[in-house]
């Protein structure tokens, strides 16, 4: 994140600055949140009692570290997703493919946890904010930077709509990974390349 001035600071981090982030209780609590969500517990039903029980700590330990469930959830989601991959500054194509390809060992819980957030968006504007700040916006911002760079270098059309193109690139990958929206894409090992190349070249003859 350090290369991108406009990227917001990792949310959730501020609250716990100066505290021992490596403490086993802290990590166990975050892991408990993610395990419960991955097991199918809805965000709405997620209780401090259940989190404490799963983590093997008392509720007081949680309340000492986080102001409430929303703050805890936000930090757990940031931990789950990790920082967005960084562009290398090669060609726009190479960087876009890199951003759309999962880098490093993937936390298998992510594909089960993310769909759980979707119904919450309509229930709570706070859940929407947490999801956007913790997961969606940092990834969009890295993508925007690459597209803006491509416009500046002349690789991309000067009239490229950065927001629309960002959504075009990320949305198909997101829906396929999260909920297997189009099962016809199951066999595509090079899905990221194909998405990028189609957006770059267009389909007009």
């Amino acid at each position: 994140m350090t290369e991108l001035a406009e990227t917001p600071a990792q949310p959730g981090a501020a609250r716990t600055q100066g505290r021992p982030r490596s403490s086993r209780a802290h990590e166990a609590i975050l892991e408990a949140v993610l395990d419960l969500l991955a097991d199918g517990v809805s965000v709405e039903a997620l209780s401090m009692e259940a989190i404490a029980a799963r983590a093997g700590v008392g509720k007081a330990t949680i309340y000492r570290r986080w102001a409430g469930k929303d703050e805890l959830l936000l930090e757990a989601l940031v931990k789950l997703k990790g920082p967005p991959p960084q562009p290398l500054g090669d060609s726009v194509r190479a960087d876009l493919v890199r951003l759309l390809t999962v880098v490093g060992p993937k936390d298998e819980r992510a594909v089960r946890v993310m769909p759980c957030l979707f119904p919450e968006v309509h229930r709570s504007s706070e859940a929407y904010r947490i999801w956007q700040e913790g997961m969606a916006e940092p990834r969009r911002e890295v993508m925007r930077e690459v597209l803006r760079r491509g416009i500046a270098t002349g690789e991309l059309r000067p009239d490229t709509d950065v927001e629309v193109t960002t959504s075009l690139l990320i949305s198909p990958m997101l829906l396929h990974r999260m909920v297997r929206w189009n099962p016809a894409l199951d066999g595509y090992e090079d899905l990221a390349e194909r998405v990028v190349d189609t957006v770059l070249r267009g389909v007009t003859a």
Copy 2:
């Protein structure tokens, strides 16, 4: 759907053929399912008791008409989404824009109900099938037909990947309408046109 030979028959319809589809009880039960889901009841928590109570009928009335919750849910979702818009056969561009633009009065419950299905996909392969058959696949198939026609008429590149392009076109609209994935797109009244034009022209300079 009648123009498209490969489009699957409307699921859920077969079970109730010959029965009075217009009966008030039948409609009240379907409406009750949609109202409960739109109110935030999860698919998992949706009970025949709650549906019967909301519809003002006895549980036996439901069981006489549907084999189980899955069948009832499928018919309710098909009713909610309605048939996919039909291409008019003008230019590929005009038809793609038409397919991505919501046609007719929109059922406001759809944007609240659809995200509720997402967590279910990982809980139940039956829920995945219902969602795909009732909502996703009929819309993809209409889109594929337009793209195949464009390849045949020479409007689109002969090597256009129909599956990837279908996902590219629909996914950004779906994520934006359902969960407002990218709030930067809120102000785009011509989002469908912009998505279609970007995919048609590409963004390479």
